[in-house]
Amino acid sequence: MIRWIPFLLLTYVLVLVQTTVGRILTMEQFSVGPFGPDLLIPLAVFVAFYAKDVYDAMLCGWVIGIFIDLTTAGGGGAPTRVGPMAIILALAMWVTFNARDWLYREKVLPQFIVGGLLCFTTHFLWCVVQIFFASRGWGLLGSLCIQVLLSSLYTALLTPPAFMLLWLCRKWLFAMSTSSRSRRNR
């Protein structure tokens, strides 16, 4: 079960870092356009891997997504809309949660791959939705695809080290279940 207050605090801190000092990690002087890591993706992957309940994972995805939506205004050819990332990330969390049984969650390679795939899928769909609603800027999509691909690789590289940090505070994020059923299962 998710401890919501620590989770919300951690999400807020990560958003604050990402929008300010985290911009140091963003590569802005490239001919394809700026790209950089999404520091919230490792948190989303971690929650999807270790949450007890699929609804917890999806709600966490929604919270992370709405934070991203509310702190992003550029990139879609016009001021962006609030909501698409929340929906996309909530649905992506459902997929990741259901796929985790086929993965070695503790290994670096699955963390790297899932981090990159989750970043690519969510960011690409977000860009497409924003450009669709802007009704313009389809010409930007080609370069945005490359930017999203590079950002996903960057995020994938950061996901395993972020997992190690998040693992240290897992007790802070997830409450141990105390129901009679779970005690019986122990």
């Binding site: 958003v15 509310l70 990139g75 001021p79 909501g83 950002s151």
Partner: protein
């Protein structure tokens, strides 16, 4: 009395429906929502952005470094040009002496105002976008300080001789340069779309730079003439950010003979900034594949966008800003 506690599926469904509704409501409601969240970022974001901009300034120098030898060459050239200018000015003064007296009196009584009728509000960048694909910044001043959507933001550019050490306050020898436009304004914060953002667009004009060593012929009143100050009229253009590091002006006639190095400026009849303020420099000129006889201009902003920290928001005193659209398209 039973206490209603929604289940997780119900809560999730409600949130997803709410997100879908917000998506369809459009960017105006999104802007209002974002402005309400800025207070969570602005107070704590200042220190973070100070570190980021300092780092970006170190890693991406905003001005090209000129060599000592080139600086000396420029100085000598300046001396020669100044001498020529002084002699020409003396001639001009003799010819126009009597006329100027009358004109001065006339201008004093009926002439236009010399100063630009705008005010400035100093603001600081306190946060950037969460995702890296856009070029927008959150400022620490908002509606309560008089900032509205569509207003221009400028930055003072300091040019100095890098071969000399700067002591005290450096003298500003170049005016303001435009860096972007306000797209969202909350009570205490606002959001700026920078020139290179995919959603940025504006009307401007290209001022062709006259280089005596490299003259150019232009069509002027159905005749080919050498470009001179008397016939150097600005070329109106419509520019958009390309989402990368340039602005692009499309459908510009080839016969205007625009070249790399020419300057993009704001138009003096723009309600939001009624002056000719420099925006960028033409970086390259490409033939437009779709339109014969047209060229596409790639314009590089004069300011290092990644390291933007202090800006001046331009508040027009004429009260014409109500006509400026969401992205600044007013015509």
């Amino acid at each position: 009395m039973t206490h209603f506690k929604p289940s997780k599926p119900t809560l999730l469904s409600a949130f997803i429906v709410l997100s879908a509704a917000l998506t369809f409501l459009g960017p105006d409601s999104a802007g209002a929502l974002r402005a309400r969240l800025h207070w969570m970022l602005a107070p704590l974001g200042d220190a973070g952005m100070a570190v980021t901009t300092a780092f970006k300034n170190l890693t991406t120098p905003s001005e090209p470094i000129i060599t000592q030898r080139y600086a000396q060459q420029l100085k000598q050239e300046n001396v020669l040009l100044r001498q020529q200018l002084e002699s020409m000015e003396a001639r001009l003064l003799r010819v126009l002496g009597t006329l100027q007296d009358g004109q001065a009196e006339f201008s004093h009584l009926f002439g236009p105002r010399k100063d630009v009728p705008v005010e400035f509000i100093a603001a600081r960048v306190v946060a950037a976008d969460s995702l890296p694909y856009g070029w927008s910044r959150v400022l620490n001043e908002g509606r309560d300080q008089g900032i509205r959507n569509g207003m221009y933001a400028t930055q003072l550019r300091v040019i100095h001789d890098r071969s000399k050490q700067i002591t005290g306050n450096p003298m500003v020898i170049s005016g303001a340069t435009v860096v972007g436009r306000v797209i969202e304004s909350g009570a205490f914060t606002s959001r700026l779309a920078l020139l290179t953002d995919g959603g940025f667009e504006m009307y401007g004009q290209i001022r062709r730079v006259i280089d005596p060593r490299n003259p150019r012929m232009i069509r002027y009143r159905a005749r080919m003439r050498r470009l001179s100050p008397q016939i150097n009229e600005p070329v109106p253009v419509f520019v958009k950010g390309d989402g990368r590091e340039h602005m692009v002006a499309i459908e510009v006639k080839k016969l205007h003979e625009i070249r790399p190095g020419d300057i993009l400026q704001t138009q003096p009849d723009d309600g939001a900034l009624p002056a000719e303020v420099n925006v960028g420099v033409v970086d390259r000129v490409e033939d437009d594949a779709q339109n014969a006889g047209m060229v596409k201009l790639y314009i590089k902003p004069l300011t290092n966008m990644a390291a933007l920290r202090e800006v001046m928001i331009v508040i027009p005193a004429l009260g014409r800003l109500e006509t400026v659209g969401h992205r600044g398209t007013q015509r």
